[in-house]
Point group: C2
Chain length 408, copies 2
């Protein structure tokens, strides 16, 4: 896939320009950010429909997570396949990951982990979490030692999300490569099937990119083969098992590639559910950036930091004056505080009331921000409490290759 | 470096066309094969001069191996540097390797190992031998299991060359990657410094090549960093040590690349000595091929196989009739039997006598072939005897990462 940059752009009005969505860059063109319906069509994935949600709920016998109800996880590839496997009591596993680019993680980074934790509990399945410290070393101006250290620091935040130790394996690429011969073998199997032309098309690489970057996609694809984890599967590993990958949709290119090569390598295509992007405080046009501390709420922020950042930076969909706001109401679609509540307030009724009140002008921007500040202060301080309990010894336990518990 | 293929070729006479020398293809254009003087100029290496040979002999206090005396190892990069290090009693190590493309090795494959064994004895230094089973998997239509098996089978032939167990570590890439975290780290360090454009220029890769091939050069370059071998160096590993790489000159591109990145990664540039190619039975125009059993003498050939192949296939520099041969003499420069004796007859005086007698017509082709047959039958059967002694248990000992013996 190539994105129009120069000549084509001038021919189009701003609305017609395609959004840019790669693992390293996300640029949306409308006020509400990315056009996700268009993205689904371009990527060739499927919308998570009300019927599909009803099927999930009938299988797990409880309501889906509000991320799914509210369309935050909005797109999928072959989710039906995993549901059928589950109904037939066949094993599958969850796979997600994180690129550890710095010590501090922000709220947006939590989204796939919150979803994954819910899926782990709902389906009672093992989970592997890849920390792509090699990717961050290859893309950023950091050393291997720094990237590897960030992997361990970030693992603490991930563990604080509540993953079950008996069902969760977290690994750094730099470390796991030297622990498990199967991992490199699967990487080579994938690399043999993929040409430079293909990764150029999928990821937009150029001839000036390093050979490390060019070969990297196979490293993010390889954990979707269960045979990359002999210790985790133990004697179960007589065959390849399917995996379900919850991720932000910018990671989809890796798994489109993995799905392309799956039949040739005789493993099941990985199944995906995709989330929208968590907006920056400044608005929905891009993902938050870990390098701009004012673009996001960090998991290390104090209650005061949170209050200041929301009040100062959270883009408002409210009107210029109180009088105008009361008369015309606010715009929830662009209001960052409301958008954040969609992610982090699980009470549907209360959220709907807030939406109505803000849209009608009954609720002022300051009042909306106050609600969000309280929600985030609680969420972040509870996260910090749990993270404090995560010792390096516990991290080592999660990061030790070992057999995980399988229900089936 | 790019090789003229289309437009330029038609402008040149056949003699002016550049020889093609890459790790995967060697095409010479003159009757005696590759023009090695031209290759030295194009690659930018240095000829091993009589002065340099004299310096080696004064340092090791014995004559150099006949491979060096006879210009079979003819080219080098920075050999002076290693000699000076040795004089100053500073540690260095030897690094060579083999691409295990099949179970059987042929005579040509022995050349770098015979040279390396001599260097190990002459300088009393540790040696690492890389079996690039990953390369063979990526380039050939074989499975990982096959390539890995060939690595172990070929290791038996290599061990039969007489390498000292206390100073020699042999490793398969597929296995060592899962044993030593440093190896992958060094590969990534190199991959970060090298672009697709660079490997395209050095190796002739195209956009249709697999990303595995494109990233592979870093894997052959990485063992030239001593930090890829923490167990071998043990507590010595406070700094990077220089290595000396004996190899056929078609492998030079990997190490040109390694030498390019060395200053950026703060390790000493690898030092090289390069051999000419061992000619195919059919003549000097190309390397021998492991896939054509009649192009070469295999280490598994019986005395009868050897006799038949030499008599039937060894390209002769003799004349059409005995009368003409007696009158005009044979051409040693193109005669494969004589060339093979240059490699495998260590008696200089006898070889010179044969050269004179064959050139004058005193020695007939059949007589020359008879001499070669005896030399090779002895060499191959002695090799087979030694190989029989190499148990899989002994192979495992050579292939176990462990501290090697250092004189300094």
């Amino acid at each position: 896939m190539s994105y129009p940059i120069a000549e084509e752009v001038v021919e189009k009005t701003i609305d017609e320009v395609e959004d840019k969505v790669t693992p390293w860059e996300v640029i949306g063109h409308s006020d509400t950010g990315i056009d996700y319906d268009k993205l689904i069509r371009r990527f060739g994935s499927s919308k998570i429909s009300p019927d599909l949600i009803a099927r999930i709920e009938s299988i797990i016998k409880k309501p889906v997570h509000h991320f799914i109800r509210r369309g935050i996880f909005f797109s999928h590839r072959d989710l039906d396949f995993i549901l059928t496997a589950y109904e037939q009591k066949k094993p599958f596993f969850l796979y997600t990951g994180r690129g550890p680019s710095s010590e501090a993680m922000h709220l947006g980074h939590l989204i796939p982990f919150i979803m994954t934790k819910w899926l782990q509990d709902a389906f009672d399945v093992p989970l592997v979490i890849q920390m792509t410290d090699d990717e961050k070393f290859l893309w950023k101006d950091i050393t291997i030692e720094e990237a590897n250290k960030y992997a361990y620091e970030n693992a603490k935040d991930i563990i604080a999300c509540g993953f079950d130790l008996t069902k969760t394996f977290i690994f750094s690429d730099f470390d796991y490569m030297g622990q498990c011969p199967n991992f490199y073998r699967n990487i080579c199997r994938i690399q043999k099937c993929v040409t430079f032309n293909q990764v150029k098309g999928i990821f937009g690489f150029t001839e000036s990119d390093s050979i490390g970057k060019i070969a990297f996609p196979a490293i993010e694809a390889a954990p979707s083969l269960s045979s990359s984890f002999p210790s985790i599967f133990g004697e179960k590993l007589q065959q390849e098992y399917p995996c379900l990958i919850p991720c932000a949709i910018d990671q989809d290119p890796y798994f489109r590639m993995a799905r392309d090569v799956a039949p040739r390598l005789n493993f099941p295509k990985p199944v995906l559910i995709h989330s929208t992007f968590f907006p920056a405080l400044q608005g929905s046009k891009s993902k938050m950036s870990a390098s701009d501390s004012n673009s996001s709420i960090f998991l290390t922020d104090s209650p005061k930091d949170i209050k200041t950042k929301i009040n100062k930076y959270a883009f408002s969909g409210g009107k210029e004056s109180i009088e105008e706001h009361r008369a015309k109401g606010g715009d929830c679609a662009v209001d960052v505080s409301f958008q954040y509540l969609r992610f982090f307030m699980d009470d549907d009724e209360r959220l709907e009331q807030i939406r109505q009140d803000y849209s009608s002008g009954k609720l002022l921007t300051g009042e909306l921000k106050k609600i969000l500040i309280e929600v985030l202060q609680t969420l972040v301080s509870q996260h910090q409490e749990r993270r404090k309990e995560v010792t390096m010894d516990l991290v080592q336990q999660y990061m030790t290759p070992r057999q995980l518990h399988f229900r089936y």
